[in-house]
């Protein structure tokens, strides 16, 4: 693996290997007082963030540091980026300084792809516009694997603003690659064009995304429900009439939690709008795996950095 740009590029074997590595790293670090592995000593990981982020950036930083990489954080504000430097020039500068890996978050879809075409450095997409956020999908898959044992044949219902969600795009691709069935529930205004054709066909058996607008009908047959964040600007953009109506139709309330099977898991990529997307008590219930997602995020990102920066050398 040279870059991690999107989950579309991930073969089932690669994705499984990443999840296995994440699991192994988690076990290796379990109960340790000093959580530091020497794996990436002398390697430089740059996080280049053009959007504000708390958890993703911190998660990558922790992941790098636990593997002894030197981690440098650059924000668009307060750097030459703020003075109008182009993405390409910034990338070339960082590569010239000897960055081994650039972790980029950018508001433009495809920014990570462009970056990878300009520099010889490994590139990890930490979220590009409304396109992809592959490490989020991997950490969601890691969490679901832990809770459900496997994703093969499981049904995951994704709820909310699929149209503008890079989390949804990454998850749909990865979940289908891992053999899960994906059901989307959203108002029609928040569904991407032609989403019902997303999926794969293997040996004549199609695994395609299914789409609905009725959350109550979907929940009983669901093994996991992934609630998407609703961005404030969408609420003012006329995609749905009001936050209240959205909450009534698509919010995960206590009553709806009861509709889920006993074993079902609730995921949210955060940050959450409690009371609107998800009821306060649901977010904190034992069914919700939200803090596990965050914890697994570090291990998944360690695994990604390991596969990009260390594993290839071992193979060579």
């Amino acid at each position: 693996m040279r870059h991690l740009l999107s989950t579309t590029d991930l073969q089932r074997e690669t994705a499984t290997a990443l999840l296995d590595t994440a699991e192994a790293l988690k076990q290796a670090l379990l109960g340790r007082e000093v959580r530091k592995l020497p794996t990436l000593r002398g390697r430089t990981v740059v996080t280049l963030f053009y959007e504000s982020s708390t958890r993703t950036r911190a998660s990558f930083e922790v992941a790098g540091k636990w593997m002894s990489a030197d981690v440098v954080n650059i924000s668009a504000a307060g750097s030459s980026v703020a003075k109008g430097e182009s993405l390409r020039d910034t990338a070339l500068t960082l590569a010239a300084m000897g960055a081994d890996c650039i972790v980029i978050r950018h508001p433009a879809s495809g920014a990570a792809h462009r970056l990878a075409s300009w520099v010889p450095t490994h590139v990890v997409n930490a979220g590009d516009g409304t396109h992809q956020h592959p490490t989020q999908a991997l950490l969601d898959a890691a969490t679901l694997r832990e809770r459900l044992g496997t994703l093969n044949g499981r049904t995951v219902t994704i709820v909310g603003d699929v149209l503008h969600s890079r989390v949804a795009r990454s998850n749909i691709e990865l979940l289908i690659t891992l053999g899960a069935r994906v059901h989307l529930v959203a108002p029609a205004t928040l569904l991407p064009c032609g989403v019902e054709n997303w999926g794969v066909e293997n040996w004549g058996v199609a695994n395609r995304v299914t789409v609905g607008h009725d959350l109550d009908a979907a929940l009983p047959g669901t093994d996991a429900v992934l609630m998407l964040r609703v961005q404030v600007e969408r609420m003012q953009g006329g995609f749905f009439p009001s936050a209240r109506e959205y909450s009534i139709s698509y919010g995960l309330t206590e009553a709806r939690l009861e509709l889920l099977p006993e074993h079902a898991v609730v995921l949210h990529p955060g940050p959450m709008l409690r009371g609107m997307e998800i009821a306060h008590s649901v977010a904190d219930s034992p069914r919700a795996a939200i803090t596990e997602q965050v914890r697994n995020g570090v291990h998944v990102r360690m695994a990604v950095l390991y596969h990009l920066l260390a594993a290839q050398e071992e193979q060579a």
Partner: protein
């Protein structure tokens, strides 16, 4: 007194036996087999296809304002090398071509360069702001004799203003060329609204944003008894609306770009902004519908929408890139690939869609004339069997944003003649 020029062994419209063509004083003086070339300069045609010089209704020559990416001189060179003898230069320059002063400047620069007839397009609204009409009459009666008015790049989206523009230009004998794009439906749009853009996370440019404006403007043109031209028709739905309008005798014409005939949104996968253009690359079904419409005459002509851009405006992330691609030097080859090779058009058809119809629509009376005795010797000679590989840095334009980089295309312009003068020959500008 300039020596006569004898074109030996050419095939007008690619049909019939090769004939000789003698040019005297810029006019076709004789046409027939084995002409006596005594005292004349000779150009061996070797069975080349002769067509009337190509006419482009839609090019961005960027002068004045962005002489770093194209000038009237370099754009004219690209045009001559591409087989063009007349080019309509769009109004979205800086300053905008919305006054007689600016259009006369563009016209005179074109004359000084002398490689093609440069016809400035005048803006419909002052500053392309879509608020009030520009001085259309002053531009029409200027030395540039502007006939086509367009806010291209922007849509004249205000219905009342568009109606007034159509009515007013009827009185001037002019045409409004509309960039059909409902700005409310395309706010933030980055790519054709469809499955590919959806997967790539690029905000969609819906077909209805074009089709609804085309339909509205056809109705406005009907009521105003005015003449409307649709820039860069790009969807199958637009074709259907045009068919409806033409069947009812509405005076509407339309152009399609070479790239909308050949390229589709499947090229967007790598996010290379060289593929970013407005209107966006559409689906294969749209491409097929546009080809059929061009062959049938529902879409009248091919226009390049030649749009040079600086490297820094393309070598960036997709959403930051400017829309547009080079077209003048590749248009004929792309039309051969998309229309002639599959058997949708013969050479007479190519003459129709790339010379005769656009000359008529733009009122370039000197162009798109028959290849016949007494007519201006404004011609292009094409080697239909040659192929060439496109290299952006080998094109005459200052910019190199061609989407055909590395592609091998059929057909090669051997020579271009403007009123008997060779403007380009063997891939070199003759001036």
């Amino acid at each position: 007194m300039k020596r006569p020029l004898l074109l030996r062994g050419i095939r007008p419209y690619g049909a019939g036996e090769a004939v000789d063509l003698l040019i005297r004083d810029g006019v076709i003086a004789e046409l027939g087999p084995s002409l006596d070339g005594t005292g004349a300069e000779m150009l061996d045609g070797g069975g080349l296809v002769a067509l009337p010089g190509l006419v482009d209704l839609h090019a961005h020559l960027r002068e004045p304002g962005r002489e770093d990416v194209e000038t009237i001189a370099t754009g004219s060179a690209a045009a001559a090398l591409g087989g063009y003898t007349a080019v309509f230069a769009m109004a979205n320059t800086d300053p905008v071509a919305d006054t007689a002063v600016v259009v006369e400047h563009v016209y005179r620069r074109g004359r000084e360069v002398g490689l093609v007839d440069v016809h400035p397009v005048g803006a419909v609204t002052a500053g392309l702001r879509g608020e009030r009409l520009a001085e259309l009459g002053a531009m029409a009666s200027s030395a540039a004799a502007v006939r086509i008015f367009s806010d291209d790049g922007m849509c004249v989206h205000d219905s009342l203003l568009m109606r007034r523009a159509l009515e007013y230009t009827r009185g001037l004998g002019g045409v409004i060329a509309q960039h059909a794009e409902d700005p409310r439906l395309t706010a933030g749009a980055q790519a054709h609204e469809g499955e590919i853009a959806a997967r790539l996370g690029l905000a969609g440019w819906p077909a209805a944003a074009e089709e609804s404006i085309v339909a509205r403007d056809c109705l406005l043109a009907r009521d105003a008894a005015a003449t409307l031209h649709i820039c860069h028709a790009s969807t199958a739905g637009t074709v259907e609306v045009l068919r409806w309008a033409k069947e009812r005798g509405i005076r509407v014409s339309a152009e399609v770009t070479p790239h909308h005939l050949l390229l589709t949104d499947e090229r967007l996968a790598g996010y290379d902004p060289v593929n970013k253009v407005n209107p966006p690359l559409r689906t294969a079904a749209d491409t097929q519908a546009l080809r059929a419409a061009l062959a049938e005459g529902i879409v009248d002509c091919v226009a390049t929408d030649h749009a040079p851009h600086a490297a820094q405006d393309k070598d960036c992330e997709w959403s930051a890139a400017r829309p547009g691609m080079l077209g003048l030097q590749t248009a004929l080859s792309v039309v051969i690939a998309a229309m002639v090779c599959p058997g949708l058009l013969d050479w007479r058809g190519v003459a129709r869609v790339m010379s005769e119809r656009p000359a008529r629509i733009g009122g370039a009376t000197d162009h798109g004339r028959p290849i016949a005795v007494g007519q201006p010797a404004t011609l292009v000679l094409v080697d239909p069997d040659a192929t060439w590989t496109v290299r952006g840095d080998g094109l005459a334009s200052l910019a190199d944003n061609t989407p055909y980089e590395g592609m091998e295309l059929p057909g090669r312009v051997v020579a271009t003649l403007l009123r008997g003068e060779i403007t380009a020959e063997g891939g070199k500008v003759q001036r």
